[in-house]
């Protein structure tokens, strides 16, 4: 939990995390608050299955649930525990963000009003590493998005996206096969 969250903080602050940068990132960014609560929840789910950690987990659940309520309804960031989010995740702003039963790799970015979830009970999207997803994007259904690809703001993904490609529009179509998104991700 801590290594993944420290990687998230590195995406927010742009430097190696110390106690000061962690507190600063969580205080300034609503996305970091949402991620902290999500990582805590994932940790508690794992801890509840381990008999050595059950006592600690049962103390932490009542702390976690109001925090999740705050993040979900006050910040509008709904990171469901069924979503598997890799380390170094970045959430741009706040409001109307819903991630559920999806797999995201390392160092991904999403913007506000993004929905990544399965279509009514099916398999969820699986997204590779270093994927930049713009604001208002919708990735709904069992689509796979390759590593290093870019979904433009407002993109509605209805098919698989190859690695390194850039897609935009509603429905999204691939407009560039080779698109360098390192500047977008801020990972030069």
């Amino acid at each position: 939990m801590m290594t993944a969250f420290l990687a998230d903080v590195r995406r927010y602050s742009g430097r190696d995390p110390s106690l000061r940068t962690v507190i600063g990132a969580v205080a300034r960014n609503y996305g970091a608050q949402g991620l902290l609560v999500y990582r805590l929840g994932r940790f508690l789910v794992r801890a509840s299955r381990d008999w050595r950690l059950i006592a600690m987990a049962s103390i932490c659940w009542p702390v976690y649930l109001p925090l999740r309520w705050y993040v979900r309804y006050a910040l509008g960031i709904r990171l469901d525990l069924s979503a598997e989010i890799g380390a170094g995740f970045y959430i741009g702003h706040l409001g109307n963000i819903h991630l559920e039963r999806c797999t995201l790799g390392r160092n991904c970015s999403i913007g506000q009003s993004t929905h990544i979830m399965p279509l009514r009970g099916g398999r969820g999207p699986s997204i590779g590493d270093h994927v930049w997803i713009g604001a208002h994007a919708r990735i709904i259904g069992p689509h796979s998005i390759g590593s290093g690809s870019t979904v433009s703001a407002g993109g509605v993904v209805c098919q698989d996206v190859p690695a390194g490609a850039m897609c935009l529009g509603d429905p999204a179509r691939v407009v560039a096969r080779q698109y360098d998104n390192r500047r977008l991700l801020g990972l030069d």
């Binding site: 910040l75 409001g95 913007g111 703001a153």
Partner: protein
């Protein structure tokens, strides 16, 4: 021109008057109905929170009791705006008088300027396009109507009286009076009169009648 507190307060009063006119709220000038109306208009709160931030950002003299008071109030107002209406407005965005922001919130506004008489609906994003060195922020002209779920990205200019229909992803300049829709956007009409759209912003106060 650095703003004075008096001009900021005049803007605030103008905003309240505009919101009452557009949402057709009842009540006299000073009454319980006015208070209820202010409490029920989160869009007005977003705007007033931004007015305070803009005043702090642009005022030349950074001292005095009033400035300190605004300096204390501003982060609290910004936080309340964020958690109640999920909206964020950049402090150096210049919003003219008579601008209506939707009461439904979810507005992430990083525009350079929003002209007078514009109507901005919910779930809108105005921001920088970071791709391919096209960095820059949108400028929205006067009397523009922007529907819900719109994205305006990049150093674009939206001309006076333009209409942007719901769900548009706009990345190019729009001429005055044009009608734009689609994702990616396209111009569907060169001259369109949006005055009736702008005068009937939200149908929240229409009573639930039978069809």
């Amino acid at each position: 021109m650095p703003p004075s507190l008096r001009s900021m307060l005049r803007l605030v009063a103008d905003d309240a008057r505009l919101y009452r006119r557009l949402t057709r709220a009842a009540g006299g000038p000073i009454s319980g109905a006015l208070l209820m109306f202010i409490l029920r208009s989160p869009g007005l709160w977003i705007l007033e929170s931004h007015r305070i931030a803009s005043y702090l950002n642009r005022s030349a003299v950074k001292r005095g009791f009033r400035w300190r008071l605004a300096y204390i109030i501003q982060p609290i107002a910004e936080y309340l705006t964020a958690i109640i209406s999920k909206s964020e407005i950049l402090a150096d965005c210049h919003i003219d008088e008579d601008v209506y922001l939707s009461n439904r919130g979810y507005i992430i506004c990083g525009a350079q300027r929003i002209g007078a008489g514009s109507v901005i609906h919910d779930h809108c994003t105005f921001g920088e396009a970071v791709a391919n060195g096209h960095a820059g922020r949108p400028t929205i002209g006067r009397r523009v109507w922007i529907g819900p779920n719109c994205i305006l990205a990049g150093p674009i200019t939206v001309g006076e009286g333009a209409t942007i229909l719901p769900g548009t992803f706009l990345t190019f300049n729009v001429r005055a009076g044009a009608l734009v829709k689609g994702n990616p956007a396209r111009v569907v009409a060169e001259s369109f009169d949006n005055s009736s759209l702008r005068s009937s912003c939200e149908l929240e106060d229409v009573p639930d009648g039978k069809p």
